[in-house]
């Protein structure tokens, strides 16, 4: 147990003596240098351990033989030791990162570095205001000097701007300090209280606070900081952005109890504004380090805001929120700044080099996901709790601004990520050189942030293993990634089986139904992935993560558990989609829309009343009266996920561009998560009907989605896009049926959900097989595959019959139920629109089967074979399912009847095969028999009496009426429904797409507009600072 004052003494002494040690060679001075830095870490770590685990009281160190306030005293309590442990450790890591630089640089840089770290230690520990000023200046001067560790003209310019800005701020700090002394006769924080200040005396606190606040880089008085982040050596930038920021932020924390509440609130709002604008301006950035600078400034703004708005809440919550943002941002930012120094690509566009270096890419991913505030990283929990507090205190403007800012951040961070994974790469690009000293700190920090995440989940939230399962899946499979993918696939199948078995006892009714869709459906679809040949690194990890989050969704007990599973689902599906060849744009759009939806849900959940029982959310939510605002936000969130009209534009891209064996998961299963969510709010809605009928509008959205989806599907050339739009349309039916809020409506919604899961999986796998053989998804490039791929043809045939709703297959029942429920509800017009869109869906279904399987076989497809067995097996499992429920609808109608019976009075009567509703009856078995009869009798007749049929060979042009050599585009299959498109007139324009495109353009233009305040002129930056202080002063109205 070493007195922490030795950190200051030893660092200073070593700093002074380093130039003497240098005479003994650089090895000696480096040993001393790293020795002192490590010593600091150990001393603080020990104190931290004592304070946290042995509950020792905070240590107060008096100096010069007097007690405070006569002398300066230092304090080392929980907060101080935590911040110091973090800063010293980061300082050590940054020094290791800079090792190669330090071998060659002048000895003065080592000295400056030591003094800088010493200054931070003093700054954090001291309780004396003037002493704080001194340490702040020590830190600043050494930082200024270190900005030119790599001396370029840019770093010199930036350093100079930094100096004059910092100098200006320090003048205000000094003034503030002496005026505090003038008004209170004291300089020690322990002896000054807010009440010591007269009204006029507040000016001193104002000056003090503003000086510290300027150092925290508020918008727009922060241009100097951006230049520094952009141009200075990455190692030093990480110190400035992380170690210095942490120290200054802690100063702000220390003086915050003195500040009047309204000043604190103004600063909090200034922080929120900073967060918003830095992220908005970040959209236009192309320089990696400057982008990180923008994000850094924004995050510090958020940190200040979180402190200002939560300062009167209980300590553990402050630790989670402020501490969460603090740790999350600083660790991620340090790691990312270090990465920029390794990759050495200024322009974001060139970051595609990362894909050749898997380990760097993974580290990049971890840090970037952390920075985005996604689970399981600390920022996620901090954001959740922070938004909850803000929502409950009805600070909606602040919530909106923060979340919109976060969304911008997601956009530019994930754009960057998708470039790193999928971006173009120069063929003569050199490999990134491996330097252990640079890689080690990044790897360590990524590990630490993961550990902290798990620690928060285990200790703060008491989450069990099951909630951690999605992360464990990714990490576990990562360790097994050397195994061939087929074995991994089989193992995954087994694991999913075990998981499903484990989950089974926790499920009942509705949960069990969705459990079958999610888990059993996924398991069957996994068979399709067994066709993978190479290692498929990372694939099964994220696939399992997605399946586990589906499961966790249905057994979630609290809003947070639900939201956590939801976010895990988003992350994993994003990564899976990104694996597609051309999925850069598609996955980014998916991420942006999903995040926007998730934020709406977050607010919706935050605003919802607390749950008062310990059962699963889907049951306990029935006892909660959700406010209208919550219902609206949640409904939009779920409808984004299910691809409703207006927010659907991500859907065709994501479903089509994902790898072909991933698409069935995304399209047939993932969309049902939105359905599940809508049912969940429906359950609360029917028990506690709110004043405003939200579901009436949800119903309309569903109907319009069904119609638009069907039309859009008809106009596609790409088979997978066609299927994607078809999914959109089908889920539209489901959403509309849920919105009916009746027994029949929900029955049809669930029936169709189940049916859709089966036929859409089968269709996507069939198309996967076709794509696997033909290497094209463009339908008019195919044709006549019926002879080559008969099994796939049968699947598609049966599936499209099931989709279209003609007898005898299961789709007929679905349609019968849906129309019955709409008519029963009295929504005749909606029923009419749905009926019309069913007609439209024949167009795309016909196009699908005709263009791919019928007509003439293309020359280049002469030699192709049936799809691989791994594609055929799952197709036929689903076919068996479809046939089973078509022959005997009671297999599914009966259980659904009892499930829905928990929520509504049953509206149907089941008698044998006969199902009777108020509008009539349907006997699925009889329909099947009759249709079969209608089909078989003429067939037999033709066989018997018309036996001598003439076979038409392919090149018998007279009979085929088609010239195989002609360009494909003159064929009917190309732009098949052009006439319908024409008939639609102006309605056929991609208005929604244009809307979102414009929204993107506008936000980028705004970002571009605002960032022009950073003229690059140092003087303008000083003007910003002065004006900023004046404006806040006027707002404060002291």
């Amino acid at each position: 147990m070493v007195n922490p004052i030795f950190i200051l003494i030893l660092s200073l002494a070593a700093g002074f003596l380093l130039s003497i040690f240098e005479k003994g060679g650089r090895k000696l001075s480096l040993t001393v240098f790293y020795g002192v830095l490590s010593f600091n870490v150990f001393v603080i770590a020990e104190w931290f351990y004592r304070i946290v685990f042995l509950s020792e009281p905070a240590l107060i160190i008096n100096t010069a033989g007097f007690t405070a306030p006569l002398s300066i005293n230092l304090r080392l309590g929980l907060q101080e030791s935590f911040v110091l442990l973090f800063t010293n450790f980061t300082g050590l890591m940054a020094a290791i990162y800079l090792f190669r630089k330090f071998i060659k640089s002048h000895i003065s840089s080592l000295i400056l570095y030591l003094i800088l770290i010493m200054g931070i230690n003093g700054l954090v520990m001291t309780r004396d205001l003037f002493n704080m000023f001194v340490f702040m200046e020590i830190v600043s001067i050494s930082t200024y000097a270190l900005t030119i560790l790599t001396k370029t003209r840019d770093s010199l310019t930036a350093g100079f701007k930094y100096m004059i800005a910092g100098g200006t701020a320090s003048i205000f700090f000094l003034l503030g300090v002496v005026f505090v002394y003038y008004f209170t006769g004291n300089l020690n924080l322990d002896f000054i209280t807010q009440s010591d200040f007269s009204h006029f005396g507040l000016i001193s606190l104002f000056l003090l606070a503003m000086a510290v606040f300027i150092e925290l880089k508020p918008f727009p008085a922060n241009g100097w900081a951006l230049d520094v982040y952009q141009s200075v050596n990455s190692g030093i930038t990480s110190v400035i952005a992380v170690v210095n920021s942490a120290g200054i932020f802690f100063v702000f924390y220390k003086i915050s109890p003195l500040l009047p509440v309204h000043l604190l609130h103004i600063l909090g709002i200034a922080g929120v504004i900073t967060f918003f604008f830095s992220n908005l301006m970040g959209l236009k950035q192309t320089n990696a380090k400057r982008l990180l600078g923008y994000s850094s400034i924004g995050q510090i703004g958020l940190l200040v805001a979180s402190l200002s708005f939560t300062i009167h809440y209980q300590t553990s919550l402050i630790y989670l929120i402020v501490g969460g943002f603090f740790v999350n941002h600083l660790i991620a930012k340090a790691g990312l700044f270090w990465l920029t120094g390794i990759v050495e690509k200024e322009n974001l566009k060139d970051w595609g080099v990362l894909k050749n270096n898997k380990s760097l890419l993974i580290l990049f991913g971890v840090l970037l996901f952390a920075l985005s505030g996604l689970p399981p990283f600390p920022g996620f929990w901090a954001k959740w709790e922070f938004i909850k507090i803000l929502t409950q205190t009805k600070m909606f403007w602040v919530v909106g601004t923060i979340l919109l800012g976060s969304l911008f951040e997601i956009i530019f961070l994930f754009r960057w990520f998708t470039i790193a994974v999928k971006g173009d790469i120069d063929s003569n690009e050199k490999e990134i050189p491996f330097e252990f000293s640079k890689l080690f700190p990044i790897a360590l920090f990524s590990g630490i942030i993961l550990l902290i995440s798990v620690a928060i989940m285990k200790s703060y939230y008491d989450f069990t293993l099951i909630q951690l399962l999605p992360i464990i899946a990714v990490l576990g499979v990562y360790l097994l990634d050397f195994i061939p993918s087929k074995i991994k696939g089989f193992l995954s199948l087994i694991v999913v089986g075990i998981y499903g078995y484990y989950l089974y006892p926790f499920e009942s009714n509705l949960q069990l139904f969705f459990g079958i869709i999610f888990i059993v459906g996924s398991a069957i679809n996994i068979i399709g992935t067994l066709n993978r040949k190479n290692l498929s690194q990372g694939f099964y990890g994220f696939l399992l993560m997605m399946i586990f989050s589906f499961g966790n969704l249905i057994i979630a007990k609290t809003y947070l558990e639900f939201f956590l599973a939801w976010e895990f689902m988003t992350i994993s599906s994003f990564v899976l989609i990104l694996r597609g060849n051309k999925a850069q744009m598609a996955s980014l759009m998916y991420m942006i829309f999903s995040t926007a939806g998730a934020y709406l849900m977050m607010v919706g959940f935050s605003y919802a009343p607390a749950l008062n029982s310990n059962s699963v959310l889907i049951n306990s939510i029935a006892n909660v009266q959700l406010p209208v605002l919550s219902i609206i936000l949640l409904a939009i969130g779920f409808m984004i996920k299910s691809g409703s009209f207006g927010v659907h534009i991500w859907l065709p891209e994501a479903h089509a561009e994902a790898e072909s064996d991933v698409s069935p998961f995304i399209s047939a299963i993932l969309l049902k998560a939105g359905v599940f969510g809508l049912l969940m709010i429906g359950i609360s809605y029917i028990k506690n009907t709110p004043s405003f009928d939200v579901f009436y509008f949800v119903g309309w959205f569903g109907v319009i989605t069904a119609l638009v989806g069907a039309f859009l599907a008809s106009f596609q050339e790409d088979a997978k896009r066609l299927l994607a739009y078809s999914s959109m349309s089908q889920v539209g039916y489901i959403v509309a049926s849920i919105a009916i809020l009746s027994h029949l409506g929900w029955l049809s919604a669930m029936y169709l959900s189940f049916n859709h899961m089966m036929f859409k999986s089968a269709l996507f796998i069939a198309i996967a097989g076709v794509y696997y053989r033909t290497h094209t998804r463009t339908m008019y490039e195919m044709g006549g595959l019926i002879k080559k791929m008969p099994l796939s043809y049968i699947t598609v045939l049966i599936s499209i019959i099931a989709v279209s709703g003609v007898p005898p297959l299961s789709g007929f029942g679905a349609k019968w139920l849906i129309y019955s429920s709409f008519i029963e509800k009295g929504w005749y017009f909606q029923a009419g629109v749905l009926f019309f869109s069913s007609g439209v869906s024949f167009l795309y279904l016909y196009r699908l089967i005709h263009t791919i399987f019928l007509g003439q076989l293309k020359y280049e497809h002469q030699d192709i074979k049936e799809a691989p067995i791994w594609f055929i097996i799952p197709q036929y499992i689903f076919m068996a399912g479809i046939m089973a429920i078509s022959m005997n609808p009671n297999l599914i109608i009966q259980p659904l009847n009892s499930i829905v019976g928990h929520y509504f009075q049953s509206a149907i009567l089941i008698d044998g095969y006969n199902i009777t509703s108020s509008l009539g009856n349907w006997n699925g078995n009889l329909v099947m028999m009759v249709t079969m009869g209608v089909f078989i009798v003429p067939l037999l007749f033709l066989k018997l009496y018309n036996g001598k049929t003439q076979k038409v060979e392919q090149f018998n042009i007279v009979y085929a009426a088609e010239r195989p050599e002609s360009p494909q585009t003159t064929h009917i299959a190309h732009n098949m429904y052009a006439h319908y498109r024409k008939a639609l007139g102006g309605w056929g324009k991609p208005r929604i797409w244009n809307f979102w495109h414009e929204a993107t353009e506008w936000s980028h233009s705004f970002g571009d507009f605002f960032r022009h305040i950073y003229t690059g002129n140092g003087q303008t930056y000083i003007l910003h600072i002065i004006l900023y202080i004046v404006v806040i002063y006027i707002i404060l109205g002291v």
């Binding site: 003037f130 000023f133 001194v134 200046e137 600043s140 001067i141 200024y144 000097a145 030119i148 001396k151 003209r153 840019d154 010199l156 310019t157 930036a158 350093g159 100079f160 701007k161 100096m163 004059i164 100098g167 200006t168 320090s170 003048i171 000094l174 003034l175 300090v177 002496v178 005026f179 002394y181 003038y182 300089l187 241009g223 951006l226 230049d227 952009q230 141009s231 236009k284 960032r1011 022009h1012 950073y1014 003229t1015 690059g1016 002129n1017 140092g1018 003087q1019 000083i1022 003007l1023 002065i1026």
Partner: protein, 117 residues
């Protein structure tokens, strides 16, 4: 000592004005120095109490009544430190200017705005 206080604030404002209006890097640093000096004068002025003597305990002052006879020593102590720090910052700024001048042969701040937006 209201005059010193006014002088200090005047210097501070002049300095800030200079920092905002001068284009020459060296003049900006001089302005910064003026503003800094203004701050120092303000500090001293705050500690000054009319009719008292220097806070040096020797034969001239009896220790029992010392607190009523001397000016407040704290601001004087503070200002010494502040002057030293100001000196260091000014020196560092000037050395940056030398380096900048070596790179681009210009002393106008307008010539150093490549980093922006």
């Amino acid at each position: 000592m209201i005059f010193a206080l006014i002088l200090g604030f005047a210097l501070l404002l002049i300095g800030i004005y200079g920092m905002l209006s001068q284009r020459n890097l060296i003049k900006i640093v001089i302005s910064f120095s003026i503003a800094d000096t203004g701050t120092h004068i303000i500090i001293v002025a705050i500690g000054y109490l009319r009719g008292r003597t220097a806070p040096i305990l020797d034969k001239a002052i009896d220790i029992a009544n010392a607190t009523h006879k001397v000016v407040d020593p704290i601001p004087s102590a503070l200002v010494l430190t502040a002057i030293v720090i100001g000196l260091a910052v000014t020196a560092l700024m000037l050395s940056f200017i030398i380096e900048l001048y070596k790179k681009k042969k210009s002393l106008s701040i307008d010539d150093y705005q490549e980093l922006k937006w």
